[in-house]
Symmetry: C2
Subunit: 369 residues, 2 copies
């Protein structure tokens, strides 16, 4: 029975060691740490987004990014669509540009259209980041353009620095406001090896996330000019995003931001090493090769069902849970999943992880063979 397989799988997963991300959040430990941090920093409770300690954290992130002001948001979905609405209202143009794999296009129920009355032009192909020549191919007048660094859905690819500068200049030539989807800007910055303000200076507004690479409970920030952030706060109220208190969320971000930023270069090094080891295994491909940041896609030359059954066997044998949610490729003859290298993978010897993948490919019947 499928329900029974699902249950057994969930139990097996819960008993195994994940290699993706930072591993499961231990809420009691996290809340205890938030508590201690708030006490040791004498943090005042925020009320409806107001509070000295919260505003100090916002100023700290604005300073880090080289932006005039920043505002904490409950989610990136809320922050980004608001940025586009503001730029569109100011330009009097409802048309925005975005990559076809943009979070706003794929994962937000088209809020930009249904909630804010905006329209979009999809810019560039799915399998690589957006470039200046992709924008040149767009005839429509755009108020703004979203650029995600790195592009998550194609394996965390970054344009080269020169390509990014060229895209920014092309947008500015056409008076298009550039919004940075920096869900993984922390990761991108390490790869560019340039200060955050230098990267952000190519953009008019910037969103960063606190729960992915940073590993906080939830939350995001939207940064830009002061008058832009003022407008964003009005829209945040309209979205119902100014809560009675978000202290647990922003404190969880504030208390670990510096430490976590220092870890990302280590993740990246491990990601490049792991990708090299995996790509050496027969039937495994990584994209991009080598990875641009501490995440990449893994393509296995086996069908998704076979892959999941074999993944379960590998978990039973090795105790490692090497992927979740495979996406079919090539009409089901292959599958793809995302690997974000964080604390989870770092805690396991690289040869053990590579060994588990080698075992998987030995056990699996290749879909074509």
């Amino acid at each position: 029975m499928p329900a029974s397989l699902e249950d057994r799988r969930a139990n097996l997963r819960a008993a195994s060691t994940l290699i993706h991300g930072h591993g499961p959040v231990a809420l009691p430990e996290e809340l205890a740490r938030v508590s201690r941090w708030c006490e040791s920093e004498s943090v005042d409770m925020d009320a409806y987004g107001e509070g000295e300690a919260l505003q100090a954290f916002e100023a700290r992130v604005a300073g880090l990014l080289g932006c005039e002001r920043a505002r904490f948001f409950p989610s990136g979905t809320m922050a980004q669509v608001i940025a586009l609405r503001i730029w569109s209202d100011r330009a009097g143009l409802p048309m925005v540009g975005m990559h076809p794999t943009c979070h706003l296009e794929l994962h937000e129920e088209h809020a930009y259209r249904h909630l804010h009355g905006l329209n979009s032009v999809l810019v560039g192909p799915t399998d690589r980041p957006m470039l200046a020549r992709d924008l040149a191919a767009v005839d429509a007048r755009l108020s703004s353009l979203v650029v995600e660094l790195p592009t998550r859905e194609n394996g965390g690819q970054l344009p080269s620095w020169e390509e990014l500068v060229e895209l920014s200049a092309a947008a500015r030539d056409r008076d298009i406001r550039l919004h940075l989807d920096g869900a993984r800007l922390w990761e991108a910055q390490v790869s560019y090896g340039r200060p955050f303000p230098e990267i952000c200076s190519l953009f008019d507004s910037v969103y960063v996330s606190f729960y992915k690479g940073i590993g906080a409970l939830a939350g995001a920030m939207l940064a830009g000019p002061a008058d832009f952030v003022d407008d964003a706060i009005v829209w945040q109220r309209r979205h119902g995003g100014v809560l009675y208190s978000m202290q647990t969320h922003w404190a969880s971000a504030a208390m670990r931001l510096d430490d976590q930023l220092a870890r990302i270069p280590i993740y990246r090094e491990r990601a490049i090493d792991l990708a090299r080891r995996l790509a050496a295994i027969d039937g495994i491909e990584v994209i991009p090769d080598p990875p641009h940041v501490n995440m990449f896609h893994v393509i296995l030359a086996i069908g998704p069902d076979e892959a999941e059954i074999t993944r379960d066997r590998v978990a039973e044998d090795t105790g490692l849970w090497i992927f979740s949610r495979p996406r079919p490729e090539d009409d089901g003859r292959a599958m793809r999943f995302e690997l974000y290298v964080g604390e989870a993978a770092l805690a396991i010897p690289a040869d053990e992880i590579a060994g588990a993948f080698a075992r998987l490919m030995r056990l699996a019947k290749p879909a074509g063979g």
Copy 2:
């Protein structure tokens, strides 16, 4: 210097005992309690609004209200405007009705208009709850009507049960969906002395809040028919209201809901007693008299500035902080504030609170005299 007065006032307030609400939230204790509850109940972490324990809490609240389904929202602002959008989309009518003191009209930057393209008709006078005859005076075709129980901005007034039944019937006669702004439904239910499902059966959708009377960190629920809640979840995604995790918020609500509901009759009894004592003091009026729920407005026959200076002196003398944020009345010759009777007032003998108010009125120079 005003800054210095402001600082001294903030320090004095922090050193005094508040009588409004439940008193300040002690975050470390709250987080420790959330932790213990999650451990003792073996609560699984929710991810993007999904999780067995979260869904169980939603089902529990739906059952309590007698609704088919309920969904946890980060805020009431988000939940309510979404309810109106759904009813308006279904009716193909952008026009909604609401009381002139409705939260959506006063405190949400007109999200219903700017974000959802809805228009409103204001129904009834500000100083009493909306009645069937107010709706009868509206010619416009409405998709839906918001009814707040109790009406917060006029001192927590409730229509009588018969008046409420009549309003509901009048709305249904005109095929208008009735949405219950139940920010303080927990409080209203105690006054009506009728089961929640009987009250909610007069409405098509219901919002309840967890941080006011219930005292949780933040959060709300939107309840109604299953297909309505399905639609609401899509809009919640569009609002950016489905967070990576809201466990701290909903757990803070779930762990205290039953205990807190049992406290509200005690608050109400104390509110009625306190209001009677205050109304007996020269220069003090309470609205409504007697209170309908465990909150009411207090009007003092002194100007707001004089009242604040005297309130500070009373705080120095008695250690009690008897009001914040007075609103001017009658061209500044009187002022009004809201008193929500909860744990804070319950912890102080009623004659001590009444004594502090009597002292205030003795010290103050009446604005007219």
